[in-house]
């Protein structure tokens, strides 16, 4: 249950990786991971290969991240979600909202 944040040198590519359960307990860490990245055109990629579970608050957090990315003229990409997590993303029809790389 951790949030790792890696910012590339050009500061336009921010990678956020979730390990374990992706739920409400992460909301503050998650928001802190992106709220300070305000460079225009920043690409946020969310690594979910190690995420084992996801509830609706995780979906809400991703939507808030997307709002933030759009505010700075950037985009959100979800990378290699695990099978269970991917099913949740499919039900929520997130593939219509953002790119999901399986």
């Amino acid at each position: 249950m951790t949030v790792k944040k890696v910012i590339a040198e050009n500061s336009r590519n921010v990678s956020i990786e979730i390990e374990g359960r992706f739920d409400f307990s992460l909301h503050q860490q998650f928001r802190e991971a992106y709220s300070s990245c305000n460079d225009s055109g920043t690409q946020f990629s969310l690594e979910l290969s190690k995420a084992t579970y996801m509830d609706s608050s995780a979906l809400g957090m991703i939507l808030l991240l997307k709002d933030h990315a759009e505010k700075v003229g950037g985009d959100v990409l979800i990378n290699r979600p695990s099978e269970g997590v991917n099913k949740i993303l499919e039900i929520a029809q997130f593939h219509r909202l953002m790119t999901i790389k399986v």
């Binding site: 608050s57 809400g60 939507l63 808030l64 099913k87």
Partner: protein
Amino acid sequence: MIDFRQLLFFIGIGLSLFIGVNTLFIQMGVLSVAATFFIGVIFFLLFREEQKQGNKTVDNKANDDAIDVDIVRHSFIQMNMLISKQIEIIENEIERVSNLVRDAVGGISESFKYLQNLSLEQQKMINSIISSKQKTDDNEHTTLESFVNDSSKTLEDFVNVIITTSKKSLETMVYTDEMVKQLDGIFKLLSQVENIASQTNLLALNAAIEAARAGDAGRGFAVVANEVRSLSINSTELNNDIRSEISLAQTIIDNLRKSVEHMASADMTSTLKAKDKVSLMVEHVSNVNNETNLVVEELAALGPQIVDTVATGVRSLQFEDLTFQTLASLKDNLAAISSLSQLLTDFDRNKDNCAEQLSNITLQCEEIIENTKQADESRSVSQMSMEEGEVDLF
């Protein structure tokens, strides 16, 4: 002069031929064949009798003639009776066949009508099934298909509501965190106010000591110092009140956070299962629909085939008309035989010219044969097949 026996022989052949031809036309089988056979036998016996008598009496020709005429007349009466009896039987048989055919055709025709009505009803049902399956958008005709699609849509809406709620809750959480920070700021300010109050208290205490040292001159000042001191104490109490109120607010905010967390965190596992079930149902309904469509199409195709078959059956019922025509022409043949019978009855033994009468009979027989032949030819020209006509349902 023609020999009487020869004449009789020719008449016999003529009658046999005539009845034979008629019998052939009648084609009624045993009865007529039997009639022909009997007549043939009678003539054969007659001819033999004549031969015997001819051998016996050659000299007494006039007497022979009288006897011959008697014998002939007797034979003719017998033949007449036989023919009349046969005609009667055949007429009865024809009547019986007519009735049988009429009854059977009536029954079959009723059955066909009923069958056709049933087929039409079945066709209507199939059409109503087809049209009701097409009414998927009509609210009053909710089909399984539309229901499942609605369910799928409802589930999507439900998921959207959950996600939107989570998002809004998280936003609320951000504001709540901001508010907690503000409250912490207020606590810091309250501490400063407390410091000021305690310093004021200390200053007031010092002022009171200095006023006491000044004696009477400082008495008034001592009162003021005391007032300032009590003010600082009031101020500290007020500060504590504010602190406890804000602490209460913090507790409330903690509760709020818990509520918001609860709102934001919905487990999606049950939704996943529901989604799987709905997907399964969509597939199932689609399969059932396809199967039903196939069967209904097959049923719809059967309808016209039944109608065709019924039409063929009805057309085949023309055999009634053809049979009646045939039976009617059989009656003509019987009438011909009747007229022969009449000829035999008319034979008059009192007349001297018996040979002339016999040859007259021969002539008339030939005439009847000719008429019968012509009637048969015209009959064979008329319709013989049931395939040639069209008959509507009656």
